[in-house]
Every structure is written in C-alpha cells, then in structure tokens.
Subunit: 197 residues, 2 copies
Amino acid sequence: MPDTRAARTNTKDDLRSHARQLFARHGYEGVSMRDIAGAVGIRQSAIYNHFPSKQHLLADLMVRHMDRLLDAMRGAITPHQTPADALEAFARFHVTYHIDQPEDVFLAYMELRSLDDAGRKTILALRDAYEHSLRDILKTGLATGAFAIGDPAVTARALLAMMTGVTVWFKDGGALDRQAVADIYVRTTMQAVGYKP
Amino acid sequence: MPDTRAARTNTKDDLRSHARQLFARHGYEGVSMRDIAGAVGIRQSAIYNHFPSKQHLLADLMVRHMDRLLDAMRGAITPHQTPADALEAFARFHVTYHIDQPEDVFLAYMELRSLDDAGRKTILALRDAYEHSLRDILKTGLATGAFAIGDPAVTARALLAMMTGVTVWFKDGGALDRQAVADIYVRTTMQAVGYKP
DNA sequence: GTCTATAAAGGGATAGAC
DNA sequence: GTCTATCCCTTTATAGAC
C-alpha cells in the first residue's frame, strides 16, 4: 500500500516543477525565492540545499528542457525519410510537444534574457541544434525540388515561430482538441513550403 | 539656428522611449524606476511628475503601441480588395512594421502578464480587433475558394505568430534586408493559405 | 519640474540550531 | 534537509525644499 502522505521525498523535483510554473506565468524577475518555496511548502532558505542560487535554478530548468526536447525530436524524425515525410513528422512532433509542455517551452523561449552569459551560451547552442534540424530538412527539400521556398534559414525560423505560438492560446477543453490543432498546423506548414502531395 | 543642448524639453517622451527599450530588453520586472530615470538623465522620483506609477507607465506604452498599430494596419489594407490582395497587404504591413518597431511590438506581446487587470482587458480588446482583421480576410478567402485552409481562427493565430517572430532574430545589416525578409514572409504566408496565383 | 531624503516593504543569500 | 533569524541591499512611492 502506497504512502499517500505528502511527505518530502523529492523536494528538488517539486522545486523544479513549481519554479517552472511560476517563472512561466510571472517571469523570472517577477517570482521570488519565497514564492517558489511557498508553493512547495518549505521555507525560502531550504531551497539553497538543492540549488546554489536562483540563477542556477533557472539554468537547470532551461538546460533540462532543451535536452529533453532535442532527444524527443531526434526520436520523432527518422533518417532516410523523404523531405516531405520528415517535415510532416517534425511539424507534428513540435506542435504536440509544445501543446503538452507549454510551461517548459514558454520558459525556454522567453527567459533567455534572464540567463547569465554562460547559461545563455549553452541554451543558444542547444536551440541552434534544434533549429538546424528543421533547416536541413528544408534545404534537402529545396534541393530535390519537393519544396518551393525562399531562404531556408528564414523559412525555418518562420515555421518554428508559427508552431511554437500554439502555446500562447491553446487550452484543453476548447473547441478543437490536440489532434485537430496539430492537423491544422501540419497542413499549414506543408502548404507553406509549397509541397504538392 | 536650433538649440543643440541636451535640454529637458520633453522628459515625458524621453521616459517613454527609454522605458520601452529597457522593458523590451530586460522585462518589466527586470527594470527599476532608477534604471529608467538613469537612462533619461534624471532622478527616480522625478518620473512621478509624469507618470503616477510604474504600472501606469507600462500601460501607457502598450495602449499607445496598439492604437498606432491598428491605425497603421487599417491604412495598409483597403476595402474591396480581393482576399489574396488583402492578405498580401496585411502580411507585408505586419512584417515591415514589426521589423521597424521591434521593441514596441515585443513589449506588447510579452508584458501582457505584467499588466494589471484593467490594462490587460484594454490591450486584449485591441489585440483581438487586430487579429480579427486577419481572420476576416481568411474567412472571406475560404468562402470564395481563393484559400485552402483549416479553421480560420487557428490559421490566423498561426500566421500572426509566424510573422511576429521576425522581431526575435532580424538585425539591420544582416545578409537580408527588410525588403528581402518581407518578401520571404509574404511568400510563405500566401503559400500557407494554399493560394494559387 | 527636479532635487534630496526617507519611508515601508521585499529581494537574494547566509549562519547556525536541530 | 529544514528551520528561525538576520544581513544587506534594492524596490516603489512619497514629502518637502528649491
């Protein structure tokens, strides 16, 4: 029989999830260590048993998010696909992942400015790797004639911004479910690159 | 002969422009009244001769931005255009305006959460009016068969996010100028709605 | 309209008991 | 690993002189 008491068995993970939620909602600068501790149910000073500073806590959240995102993306698109299949897989993955992890995603995209130089450099490299995967798909499709697009780097950024924006408005229980929303974004993406099925 | 001394002739506008720049760069919570005053060259307490609070200063910036944006957009798209012409005009306007006013735009999109309830309601209404203009173009194009899209509301949000994202990366003096970048976004937009010229 | 001075509150981080 | 207590600094906003 499981222990159902709210015992402090994993304070570090609790801190991560509440900090993520609060940072996403109010911004890094808008959240105090007391706010985070209060959400978890401990005192502010106890946070320092798990993270050496507020800045380290933010960096931890962002790096872990980017690592997970990259791993998941690499699992979603397989080598040797046609550019069209790869783009469709990428788009569906990106939109559904962002629908399911809106806080992580929002944080990573918005709070880059709150990160110190070292952390910012790390995150930018990871973000760049992610963006590059999409850019490579577009470049291949352009070379094979499957896609009709302008500059692949600009188009990649445009498509990423489009798909990432789903986090701003999507709410569970709305008129359209995840699947229906993902379908629309995938369709819009494929049309945007001029793909003719 | 004009007076070239850095006299304090328009502190209020100086406060607006420096606050806009600082808020856009570091976020509302990340900027203090001392920071703003320092940028303008006055003491922090003197701000209160022009704005009753930091919150009022933010609301002033956001409302003025949305008013200007709506006016400019309404001037850019004319009635009785075909849906395709209207969409092209809207896209070109949106991208170039956002390239030219990145700080205003970034602020209005990001700092909604820092606004109090009254201000947030005002801004959301203005934003809604703007989004509705694009949605109406898409609806008309869908009805006339000019566009091949899924839900117009979702597509409108997707396209707006795509185009607004240009503020994140565009820098003057890069490989592509405003015009070239706008061309790519306009093309991607027209293709995204399945328009066949 | 700007200044100096200050009030009142809240911020991140540390010390040391348990 | 969490607690209480505290340090030291910054924050928004106000008071009153000039």
